[in-house]
């Protein structure tokens, strides 16, 4: 998604800018059709893929979609549900029926309290942005240890790389468990040097991952002593 940004064909567009004729092409995200031409609606890099013109935004807020893996922080607890901050405009709702435990009415706080961090999946999003989360699924759980790092939402793809290659590389280099949430939160667990190195590396990937010399940067990161991070 964010790859190849410094290729010659990449163009930075601003809202309202005409980005070419609309005939025979489809409007992707960040683009609207107006009078037979496409108009950019966001600040970002113009891209065309599979006959679809879209803008890869420079800044974005997290818009939840059904099926997204997210790292949430419990913000409110009610008798039978939790509200989770998922780094978006709206909190996500986790009902006790979708929690991995058998929860008695009124005992939700016994399992998770405000401030706890969980790995959850977006079950459903309706047109009014009501988000329902689930913790029923393989690997979805309360995260009791490790650290949560934040990366800009639009750079999550960069962190994973094609076929999760870059993420796997980071896991191998840091010797840590790393889970990337679609909402721009990354959970890292390992020894403290590994976490410190990962914190540094993830920030570098988020800021420089689109550059062509990134492989050299990864090699440089790898040579860095984990204790020095």
């Amino acid at each position: 998604m964010s790859q190849g940004q410094d290729g010659a064909e990449q163009r930075l567009v601003t809202p309202g800018m005409a980005v070419g004729p609309s005939t025979g092409k489809r409007a992707g995200s960040g683009v609207i059709a107006q009078n037979e031409s496409f108009i950019a609606t966001r600040l970002g890099w113009l891209q065309e893929m599979n006959n679809t013109v879209s803008v890869n935004p420079i800044n974005a807020t997290y818009m939840p979609r059904s099926g997204d893996l997210v790292v949430g922080v419990v913000a409110e607890v009610r008798n039978n549900l939790w509200f989770l901050n998922i780094n978006g405009a709206f909190q996500g709702l986790l009902p006790m029926s979708l929690a991995p435990w058998k929860v008695e009415f009124g005992a939700a706080r016994m399992h998770m309290d405000v401030g706890d961090v969980v790995l959850a999946r977006v079950q459903e999003v309706d047109e009014c942005h009501n988000v329902v989360l689930t913790m029923k699924g393989v690997g979805l759980r309360k995260l009791n240890q490790g650290a949560v790092l934040n990366v800009p939402v639009q750079h999550v793809e960069r962190l994973r790389g094609p076929n999760n290659e870059r993420l796997q590389q980071l896991r191998d280099m840091s010797d840590c468990r790393i889970m990337v949430g679609e909402n721009g939160r990354v959970w890292v667990d390992g020894d403290k040097n590994g976490i410190a190195w990962s914190r540094h590396a993830i920030q570098r990937v988020a800021s420089d991952g689109h550059k062509t010399n990134f492989d050299a940067l990864m090699a440089e990161l790898n040579t860095m002593n984990k204790g020095d991070a």
Binding site: M17, G30, R42, I58, F90, Q154
Partner: protein
């Protein structure tokens, strides 16, 4: 704004007191991303005006009674700093700042794709640090850049610009003396790519011919300011920072 007959606002050589031609803008500078804590921000200087705008959101709209089920609301707060003019301004909201906040929000709502964010709120904080006539236009221009910087989808980059009348002559971009002692003021919010008008106010009287000329000046100036806005946004990100 009835005009003051004894105040000379045009020089004998046909230029204005500050040496500008009738259709000449004051110097404009735009900088995007000046506030690290905000989702998007901008600083615009226009003559001696200085405006800083911070944008936050989209976020859940509170209190819930302001939520709209089908679109976002834009919450604009326009404020002049107490030190922004030679006479100290009493801090806090007043009738004028409420009015300008309202008209600015209406103007921005017509360009932001509000239907993409139901039940949300986009907060736009406009702070005027120095004022020298035309602050509502500077606020709108800065808000447009800050919204773009925040990644909010918009149909266009709206530009605020004003023309007016002094000594029975239409002039572009009134300065303080022209605003205080002139005969009319016509601030507009223009969408430069489509030529639409999202906001228009008129203070004083203009004949239809004068109005047409003032709008012609406004459209020409909007194109110039728009170019500066686009360059500011590109300057921020072109270096590969994103």
């Amino acid at each position: 704004m009835g005009g003051y007959g004894d105040v000379q606002l045009l020089r004998d050589d046909g230029k204005r007191l500050d040496g500008r031609a009738l259709d000449e803008l004051r110097p404009v500078t735009v900088e995007a991303g000046v506030l690290p804590a905000a989702d998007g921000s901008a600083r615009v200087t226009h003559g001696l005006n200085v405006a800083v705008v911070a944008v936050y959101g989209p976020m859940e709209a509170h209190p819930r009674k302001i939520q709209r089920q089908d679109r976002a609301v834009i919450d604009v707060r326009y404020n002049m700093a107490p030190f922004s003019t030679s006479d100290r301004i009493r801090p806090g909201f007043n009738r004028r700042s409420r009015e300008i906040s309202k008209v600015t929000a209406d103007a921005l709502e017509s360009v932001v794709l509000v239907e993409r964010f139901p039940r949300s709120k986009i907060r736009v904080e406009i702070e005027i640090l120095a004022a020298e006539a035309g602050t509502r236009c500077v606020g709108i221009t800065a808000a447009a850049v800050a919204l773009a910087d925040a990644g909010i989808p918009m149909r266009d980059l709206i530009v605020g610009v004003a023309s007016g009348k002094v000594e029975d002559t239409v002039v572009l971009d009134l300065d303080k003396a022209e605003d205080n002692y002139g005969q009319a003021d016509l601030p507009v919010g223009i969408l430069p790519n489509t030529g639409e008008i999202a906001f228009l106010q008129m203070d004083g009287d203009l004949s239809p011919e004068e109005f047409d000329l003032a709008m012609e000046y406004n459209f020409k100036a909007a194109g110039e300011i728009h170019q500066i806005m686009v360059e500011a946004l590109q300057r921020r990100y072109e270096g590969g920072e994103a």
